[in-house]
């Protein structure tokens, strides 16, 4: 699949994500510092492509599980 790189707002290191997620309000997780965050451009509508989305009808905070440690950090 196509990928794209983004930088963690906390540690500034980069990592790569599935390009299908780009623009959607889906949390990202920095593998370097364990920080969960939302990327800036979370304005895309509809559903991303991919087998993980096949049975879903919406993307929102209810859809994605974030661990307790993340709740304080993200947003």
């Amino acid at each position: 699949m196509d990928v794209y790189f983004l930088n963690c707002p906390q540690c500034k290191k980069n990592f790569h994500c599935d390009a299908n997620l780009r623009g959607f309000a889906i949390p990202r997780h920095c593998p370097h510092c364990d920080h969960y965050f939302y990327a800036e451009e979370d304005k895309a509508k509809g559903m991303p492509r991919g087998t993980a989305f096949r049975s879903l009808t919406r993307i929102d905070a209810e859809t994605f599980y974030l661990p307790e440690k993340a709740e304080k950090k993200h947003g």
């Binding site: 699949m1 196509d2 990928v3 990592f15 790569h16 994500c17 599935d18 299908n20 997620l21 889906i26 949390p27 990202r28 997780h29 593998p31 370097h32 364990d34 969960y36 991303p48 492509r49 991919g50 087998t51 993980a52 989305f53 096949r54 049975s55 879903l56 859809t63 994605f64 599980y65 974030l66 661990p67 307790e68 440690k69």
Partner: protein, 463 residues
């Protein structure tokens, strides 16, 4: 005594004295220490299995668990797992295929007879951070387990086993990646009804059981029974703590996590170093809630070492399945090599060609057997498909690119292929590198067989 991981380790030591290498210095798996040591051994060409006897858990505390890795790194270990004295590729394929056809019904045992039930940690008391979960490669999204996942079909008529990478998230949650195959299909059915999918996460068993999970089996085959065939005895199973008879788990496993894939919930997972030796991207995956952990005393947690030879060669059952399919299509096929062909998505086939057209037919059989294959090289039977030098020599000397290469579009690709642009649609290629039968072709240059009767030692003082 039933076959289990401890029996495998005993047999390993008998066949390969000195194995497993026992590391009794404390290591921190979550800080890449296990990964570093395995990497250095591999680079030195040391393919011994390694047992790390003193490890820390994710809290940094000394753990009662030990860690085992490098159990699939070479064919010798695969041969041991299949009770074969001969580790040559084609022989092992045949052995594997014969054993996997000799399916055996499961044997249900009582919890008192199930070593995996020696210790039970229920949901309210368990914490996945008590496990020594290793980080494999830089930029991996977190510590990753590499278990065999067990699930029962929604109709209840079949057990499925598969390898699914799992990323640690917190005390009770893991992220699971599912390729769109059987486990994914079962979960789709249940999720449509809003139901979770109970699963067992096996973290160590006899290597024949672990190998069976990467087999290409059809939906009408029970994979517990197939595992019994590879083990050479019925797989002993016991009702799980959380789901009872609805989910039977291997009684002789080292450790089993019982849990469920949660419907309508997703999580973020990855990157993770894959068998392609590249890091697969971070993506949205499915969520597992763990409800119980059961294990033996002094439990051994088995890992497949991600993105290294151990990981690649653990796919041996798929290679055997491809061999079977290709040989059925073209009986003149002598051998195939996937795992030693020089790349994760290459397959080389050697065949005794009787007519033109056979190379294409053999290649098409291989491509239809598995979406792990995108490039197929067909060579003559005097060459070794497991030797990339032989394959490349055939391509160099027998291929004209305008007539010998067939390009394929829109074939089902493999999501883990870093070159693929869409999730499941890719391209492929068949290279017929066999010598032509329909026109004259030079013979190979070689010394006359009679002359090779000379003994080198009669002329040169050589050891």
């Amino acid at each position: 005594m039933a076959k289990d991981l401890r029996r495998w380790l005993t047999d390993l030591g008998k066949r390969f004295p000195g194995e497993p290498i026992r590391v009794n210095r404390l290591v921190h798996p979550e800080s890449f220490e296990v990964s570093s040591l395995l990497y250095q051994l591999e680079k030195r060409g040391n393919h011994a299995a390694v047992l790390f006897e003193k490890v820390t858990n994710l809290k940094g505390e000394s753990s009662e668990f030990s860690i085992l890795a490098h159990t699939f790194i070479n064919r010798d270990k695969i041969a041991l797992s299949l009770d074969s004295e001969d580790s040559s590729r084609a022989t092992l394929f045949e052995k594997y295929l014969i054993k996997s056809r000799e399916k055996k019904k499961i044997k249900v045992v009582d919890p008192e007879d199930a070593p995996v039930k020696e210790f039970i940690h229920r949901e309210e008391a368990l914490d996945l951070a008590d496990l020594p979960i290793m980080r494999h490669n830089f930029m991996d999204g977190g510590p990753y387990l590499t278990p065999v996942v067990i699930a029962r079909s929604p109709e209840g008529d079949r057990y499925n086993t598969s390898w699914n990478r799992m990323m640690y998230i917190d005390s009770h949650h893991l992220a699971i990646y599912m390729s769109p195959r059987h486990l994914w299909a079962y979960f789709q059915d249940l999720e449509a009804k809003g139901e979770p999918m109970p699963i067992g996460i096996v973290l160590g068993h006899h290597m024949a059981f672990m190998l069976s999970a990467s087999s290409l089996t059809s939906l009408d085959e029970d994979e517990y029974e197939a595992a019994g065939g590879l083990l050479g005895e019925s797989l002993r199973v016991v009702p799980s703590e959380t789901y009872g008879d609805r989910l039977l788990i291997p009684a002789d496993a080292e450790i089993v996590l019982e849990g469920e894939i949660v419907p309508k919930k997703r999580t973020i997972e990855g990157p993770f170093g894959e068998f392609t030796f590249y890091l697969g991207a971070q993506r949205v995956s499915w969520l597992v809630r763990v409800r119980a952990i059961t294990h033996r005393s002094q439990p051994i947690l088995h890992f497949v070492y991600g993105a290294h030879l151990d990981h690649l060669r653990a796919h041996f059952p798929i290679e055997a399945s491809i061999y079977q399919r290709v040989k059925q299509a073209v009986p003149g096929v002598k051998d195939v090599s996937w795992l030693e062909s020089g790349g994760s998505f290459h397959l080389a086939i050697s065949l005794k060609k009787r007519t033109e057209g056979e190379p294409m037919r053999a290649a098409m059989a291989a491509l239809s057997a598995s979406n792990f294959i995108k490039h197929v090289f067909v060579i003559d039977d005097d060459l070794d498909p497991g030797n990339p030098g032989d394959v490349m020599w055939a391509v160099a000397t027998c291929v004209q690119s305008d007539t010998s290469i067939t390009l394929l579009k829109n074939i089902q690709g493999q999501l883990l292929d870093p070159s693929i642009r869409q999730e499941t649609k890719g391209a492929g290629m068949i290279i017929d590198a066999t010598r032509p039968l329909d026109r004259p072709f030079p013979p190979r240059a070689d010394v006359p067989p009679e002359a090779l009767k000379l003994r080198l030692e009669d002329y040169i003082n050589i050891k």
